[in-house]
């Protein structure tokens, strides 16, 4: 029998029969569902309405409004050159605010960069958001007692940190959970996959909350993945997926609560896909008219979560026009004060880049720090800090 490729020598007589034959379909156990409570047209599914009390309802409303006004303010600050490029969350206020508030203080929230409301709610001073976009590391420093991770820029990388946090909780026997935000675009990255797979294997108390805002910069959701929903990706990892209306604060709240409860009671992770829309630019450096239509944006503007929730609360008698005015004024005042605090604290010492790198600076780093300090003093960028004589020129 000779070596070679006898098989390919003749054309393959494809066994067409095989195409038509019945096979055993495999039943997939985890489920993928859709949840909507306060519909886009304002109709409420009464049977599902969590009927939050007045205080909490107003808290959530105010939180969403704060995210919106902060966003608007940042865009202005960016135009004025008072901060750098900014990535707005407009349209996604329900998605991130109504989910963050589900988390307890000892839980961890792992954000990406479109959740200013989460930072605010969790107790980060408002100006930290400005500091981040203003080019100050200080915007990444959680205040004492708050242990959320800071803004994560490299897409999907934070999903692994969320997984690791949840892993640690489980190993420690702590009944906490982790809420991890990411975008529809992030689902394409390897890190997203690895995070969900580990979470499934170890049944970790983590909720992956994908804000599917339909766009990853210029790439529409449909070109990001051929999967019909993002929620169904959970099936690859052996847990449930939930797709919900991300512009519906009630659905977001209920869906997240359920997932977090499951996580805390040992039921493992959940993948939530919050269907929402990035109503604004990707960042202030972006021009979305190049890749999407005005009509699309207008359609989604009608589904804006803030008026929708406002109307619902008016209907339930929890809000009235006067209260709305008060909240608006209150939010703007708090914001204005934060901007002042931001602008009054801009003395960024360039030498700081040496200060926080290690617990103990090495001799070589100390040498470099001195070199830098000498240069900065010489160039008049910082004031002379110590007598020159003592210092060796490297």
């Amino acid at each position: 029998m000779s070596v070679g490729l006898p098989w390919q020598a003749k054309p393959l007589d494809r066994i067409g029969r095989a195409f038509a034959v019945p096979r055993k379909a495999i039943k997939i156990k985890p489920k993928v569902e859709w949840l909507s409570i306060l519909a886009g047209d304002g109709k409420v599914d009464e049977s599902l309405d969590p009927k939050l009390d007045a205080d909490r309802s107003i808290y959530l409303y105010r939180l969403m409004l704060m995210a919106r006004r902060l966003d608007e303010r940042c865009i202005i600050l960016q135009r004025q050159g008072r901060i750098g490029t900014y990535g707005p969350c407009r349209g996604q206020e329900a998605a991130h605010c109504a989910s963050t508030i589900v988390m307890d203080r000892e839980d961890w929230v792992v954000p990406t960069y479109r959740e200013p409301g989460s930072f605010y709610h969790r107790g980060w001073p408002l100006e930290t958001v400005l500091q981040f976009w203003g080019g100050f590391e200080e915007g990444c420093r959680p205040p004492e007692g708050v242990h959320d991770t800071p803004i994560a820029v490299p897409i999907a990388t934070q999903a692994l940190h969320a997984m690791g946090l949840a892993w640690a909780m489980k190993l420690r026997g702590d009944r906490h959970a982790v809420l991890c935000y990411c975008g529809d675009g992030s689902t394409s990255e390897g890190d997203f996959h690895e995070a969900l797979n580990f979470a499934g294997v170890y049944r970790l108390p983590v909720v992956f909350f994908v804000q599917n805002n339909q766009w990853a910069i210029s790439l529409p959701r449909a070109k990001q993945t051929a999967s019909e929903t993002i929620a169904q990706k959970a099936l690859a990892y052996g847990f449930d997926g939930l797709q919900l209306d991300g512009n519906d604060p009630l659905a977001v709240y209920v869906g997240t609560t359920e997932a977090v409860e499951r996580a805390k009671s040992g039921g493992g992770p959940t993948l939530i896909e919050a269907v929402t829309y990035r109503m604004s630019v990707h960042t202030t450096a972006d021009d979305p008219t190049k890749y999407r239509s005005k009509e699309e944006v207008e359609t989604w503007e009608k589904l804006d979560p803030i008026p929708r929730y406002q109307k619902y609360l008016l209907g339930r008698g929890i809000l009235d026009p006067k209260r709305i005015e008060e909240i608006e004024a209150d939010v703007l005042a708090e914001l204005a004060a934060a901007v002042v605090r931001y602008e009054e604290n801009q003395n960024a010492d360039p030498l700081d880049c040496f200060k926080y790198l290690y617990a103990e600076p090495s001799a070589e780093l100390e040498q470099q720090r001195k070199e830098f300090q000498t240069a900065l003093e010489r160039e008049g960028m910082i004031e002379k800090q110590e007598p020159r004589m003592a210092q060796q020129r490297s």
């Binding site: 820029v153 490299p154 394409s188 990853a216 450096a285 890749y291 880049c353 780093l365």
Partner: protein, 326 residues
Amino acid sequence: MALMNMVSALNLALNEALAEDDRVVLLGEDIGQDEGVFRVTAGLMDKYGQDRVIDTPLAEAAIIGGSVGMALYGLKPVSEMQFSGFAYQGFHQVEQHVSRFRNRTRGRFNLPMVIRMPYGGGIRAIEHHSESREAYYAHTPGLHVVIPSGPRNARALLLASIRDPDPVIFYEPKALYRAFKEQVPDEPETMPIGVAQVVREGTDLTIISYGAMMRPVLEAADELADTDGVSVEVVDLLSVSPLDTETITGSVAKTGRAVIVHEAPRRCGIGAEVIARIVEKSLVYLEAPIRRITGFDVQFPFFARERAYLPSMERITHAARDVLAF
């Protein structure tokens, strides 16, 4: 000749490459419909269609690993990493495959592919958008690492890189994208990869640099000539792998003094390698210690602190004066 900035020059090279060779395809995040976040690919999808200029999902390993597959099949993929700071998502594909396929298959398969990536500070961008890590690639055998410093050489080197049969990391100094314009020839022009340029002749001191740092370096050379009457030779490396040892050591053999400038961290950076080569070949000519004006071995600061951080004309002239006074 036409006057253009680096973005237009790179766009011109891509346009020429797409036109001259139908195996060339561009791929990356937001490079098509959106024309690239820096507009380097402006107009190209319109002109060449979605099969030549491809918007990809958000996955750098897939862009690089997919390019490997395309190149194996005979295409010439030119991919874009949106920022060099996100190329590490595909770094394993670079180390394990891009750099190895020719050697591994004893020359049977080569990978004619280019990975473009904007690098460097100075544009007031958020975290991960300002680093310089060319040394990672320079330390990786099997790659070329090319770093242009102006519109004309950017165009010529990019075209040469695309025509090259081997993989090229094309590291674009984004601070220069729109910093200045140059006359760029109308006819396709290329430059050899791995050849440094003496962009200013001098006899007292050699300053060696590349990429965005060439600007403060050239200013420093002017300043030293004007104020101190010093004759500075300036070498623009243009490629950090291969590194043009002859040009470097030849210049230092002449001047006896050298300063090296880059944004990247110092430890095991290009500056270290340049010094090592000078010591190996031209030690006897050396009249003073060589100074490195570089980034420090710290994380590149967020942008409020970046101006103070980046090597400046003042820092370079100061080091030069130190070296000259030795």
